[in-house]
């Protein structure tokens, strides 16, 4: 396990412990018991929140103990023991060597990380665009942007893929199942 992944796991456990504690407090606020003594609105949130907090702290302690036991040189062994392939990839990303972890399309881990960020940004941007363009147009633009901008497809192929996919979706969902898609301010489809 690399130091980055270990730190991420430690941070995740800490965040979960905090969230669990907050949920527990929130649950207590709703009340554990009703007036008749039966289970109250807050029991399940409080109990599950407390359980999350305790388990996250146990996990945190395990991570910290593992970090203390395993120096950086033993990273590979721990990674193999944990069966995490992701960790290896992160390690590649950290070293950033030109030949490390290159995929079949010749992309380095750093390029793939950038692609992931771009795709995430595009997906959320498309969802934000829906009130203006409508859902189908926003999704069409999203597919176009990903296929051309990220996957470097030829524009003609990308347009064809997008058009066929949108036509299928429109036929099945809008026409077949009568799903009323939002058409946004443009009011087209």
């Amino acid at each position: 396990m690399t130091r980055t992944l270990r730190n991420a796991r430690i941070a995740a456990s800490a965040v979960l412990a905090a969230l669990g504690a907050a949920a527990c407090v929130g649950g207590l606020g709703y009340g554990l018991e009703n007036e008749d003594g039966a289970v109250g609105t807050g029991l399940l949130p409080a109990a599950s929140g407390a359980l999350i907090a305790v388990l996250a702290l146990v996990d945190l302690a395990q991570q910290l103990l593992a970090a203390r036991r395993a120096p950086a040189s033993a990273d590979a062994d721990i990674n193999a023991a944990n069966g995490s392939g992701v960790a290896l990839l992160i390690a590649d990303g950290e070293t950033g060597g030109p030949t490390d972890g290159i995929d079949v399309l010749g992309r380095t881990p750093r390029q793939r990380n950038r692609n992931l960020v771009v795709v995430l940004a595009l997906v959320f941007a498309a969802a934000l665009l829906v009130p203006f363009s409508g859902l189908l147009i926003a999704m069409g633009l999203l597919i176009l942007a990903i296929t051309i901008g990220v996957e470097r497809m030829r524009p003609l192929s990308a347009v064809a893929v997008t058009a066929v996919a949108l036509a299928c979706v429109w036929l099945v969902f809008a026409q077949g199942l009568r799903v009323p898609f939002p058409t946004g301010m443009l009011g087209l489809i």
Binding site: A12, G20, L55, L89, V104, L116, L136, I143
Partner: protein
């Protein structure tokens, strides 16, 4: 009994019923292939089509949609790690791994074969035992249901092996997420922060699409493109040896599925999770579970199908729906002027037995259609991932929107897509989170009812023999592996010491 069976075959095997059963199975499979549209939505959407039919024909077609949609969900679970329903979540664990190894055809075939065998077993059990089993299901009150849900969660957590703490953490997180919205007991809104959309809770279909479909897409983008899977045709076809090897898993899954399917509530989901958990402990091939074990597909798929059939026990015999889809079917019964309950078996024997036999017929059709089609479906994996994932994003978002015709669903998918990606990166198990979320509302309802039965005390759980027995099993599942592990470790250390001495 034989007369009833013959009457059922006479009813189900008319040309009209056979044709509509085939149409139902085909439509169901197509609906199951679309993310977000499971069997419940499929039956509900297509219900109006059957209004002009004879009741028995309509019910046969709707039942065909039911298990056709389940098989459609299996196809997406195996090929693109996108379960159509909560009950298909565990199929992704080994099915998707098999697909990545070029064995998608075999995974889909064993799912069809397992479902077919489960259908035969459950049909036999349904015919012989439906009325007495319905009485047994009535013995399951809130305390027993609560105990069985605890057992389900424990099994799912325990099949995480060494990562028990993280499994339990995710199951608890699922339960916590399920508390968002209006509380089961009091009707009070919780953790909604003034958002009207959250009043009905976090929708689990959208969560599943996000966690599995988009989470996997983001993960794959980061992992990098692999060569498209170009498996040889013979690898796509299931081998007789694999069918024989999977048979014990199929039989165990069918038994577990049938028993749990009779219980109203999340029968199919619990059945698939529990059968997978048990199989992971008892299978000879348990070391390969999670890495593409064929038994890891056969067992939950058989359990899922057996549970779907057994769902009809409380529906037909008691008028209590076994699950969401049978609740819609129960609505169909009333639309056709039928009153499910103990008298239905006496008053409408041709309808009841015709419907039960149609489960068998429908599964034969599914098997005949899907065994040759499994390798064809598997060809989808030949498409380079760069072309495939934009389409997965598109169908996930559109499918999610169509669940409730609301952009809130799309946002849930996107947010849980990111969460799914993070969980994958951190090696945190997703299946317990989904089960916790699905079971959460039922769990809380059973908790409230159990406390009401016990006048505010949950100690009633320990005074009812069935509930106590189930809880003892759950405790044993947690404790026994640890105790035996500690004993074995101690024995090994003693042996080492004696060798050094």
């Amino acid at each position: 009994m034989l007369d009833n069976l013959l009457l059922g075959f006479q009813t189900a095997m008319t040309w009209e019923n056979l044709v509509w059963c085939l149409v139902g199975v085909l439509l169901g499979t197509v609906i199951g292939l679309l993310p977000g549209l499971g069997s419940t939505t499929g039956v509900a959407v297509l219900l109006p089509l059957t209004f002009t039919f004879e009741p028995v024909t309509a019910l046969i077609m709707l039942a065909g949609i039911y298990y056709g949609a389940q098989y459609g969900g299996t196809i997406t679970s195996v090929l693109i790690a996108t379960p159509g329903e909560a009950a298909s979540v565990v199929t992704t664990l080994d099915g998707y791994q098999m697909a990545k190894q070029g064995r998608a055809g075999a995974a889909l075939a064993i799912a069809a074969i397992g479902s077919f065998i489960a259908a035969i077993i459950s049909l036999a059990l349904l015919m012989g035992l439906a009325p007495p089993l319905a009485g047994l299901a009535l013995e399951f009150g809130p305390a027993e249901n609560l105990a069985i849900m605890i057992l389900g969660l424990v099994i799912v957590v325990s099949f995480q092996g060494g990562a028990f703490v993280r499994g339990a953490l995710m199951a608890a997180a699922g339960l916590l997420l399920a508390t968002v919205g209006i509380a089961a007991g009091s009707g009070e809104a919780r953790f909604t922060f003034g958002n009207v959309d959250l009043l009905s809770g976090i929708p689990f279909v959208e969560v599943m699409i996000g966690l599995f479909a988009l989470g996997e897409v983001f993960h794959q983008i980061r992992m990098g493109a692999e060569k498209p899977i170009r498996a040889r045709f013979k690898d796509m076809v299931i081998r007789p040896r694999e069918v024989a090897k999977s048979m014990p898993s199929i039989l165990r899954g069918s038994g577990i599925g049938f028993f749990l399917g009779m219980l109203p509530g999340a029968g199919s989901t619990l059945a698939s999770f529990i059968s997978y958990g048990i199989e992971r402990r008892v299978s000879r091939n348990r070391d390969n579970f999670g890495k593409g074990a064929i038994e890891g597909v056969a067992s939950p798929e058989s359990a899922n199908n057996a549970a779907a059939n057994a769902n009809f026990v409380p529906t037909l015999a008691l008028g209590i729906p076994g699950g969401a889809t049978t609740a819609v079917l129960l609505g169909a019964f009333t639309i056709y002027g039928l009153q499910p309950g103990p008298l239905l078996f006496e008053q409408q024997p041709d309808l009841v037995w015709g419907l039960l036999v149609s489960f068998f017929v429908g599964n034969v059709l599914l098997l005949v259609l899907n065994l040759p089609l499994a390798p064809v479906f598997a060809q989808m994996l030949r498409i380079p991932y760069g072309y495939l994932y934009p389409l997965i994003i598109l169908t996930s978002c559109i499918g999610a929107y169509s669940v409730s015709n609301n952009m809130f669903s799309v946002w849930v998918v996107l947010i849980f897509g990111v969460i799914g990606f993070v969980l994958k990166e951190l090696d945190l198990p997703i299946a317990p989170l989904v089960l916790g979320l699905v079971l959460g509302p039922l769990f809380e309802k059973a908790l409230v009812q159990t406390s009401a039965v016990g006048d505010g005390s949950l100690a009633v759980l320990f005074t009812r023999p069935i509930a106590l027995g189930i809880l003892v099993c759950a405790a044993a599942l947690i404790a026994v592996p640890r105790i035996t592990g500690a004993l074995l470790k101690g024995r090994k250390e003693n042996q080492k010491e004696s060798v050094t001495q």
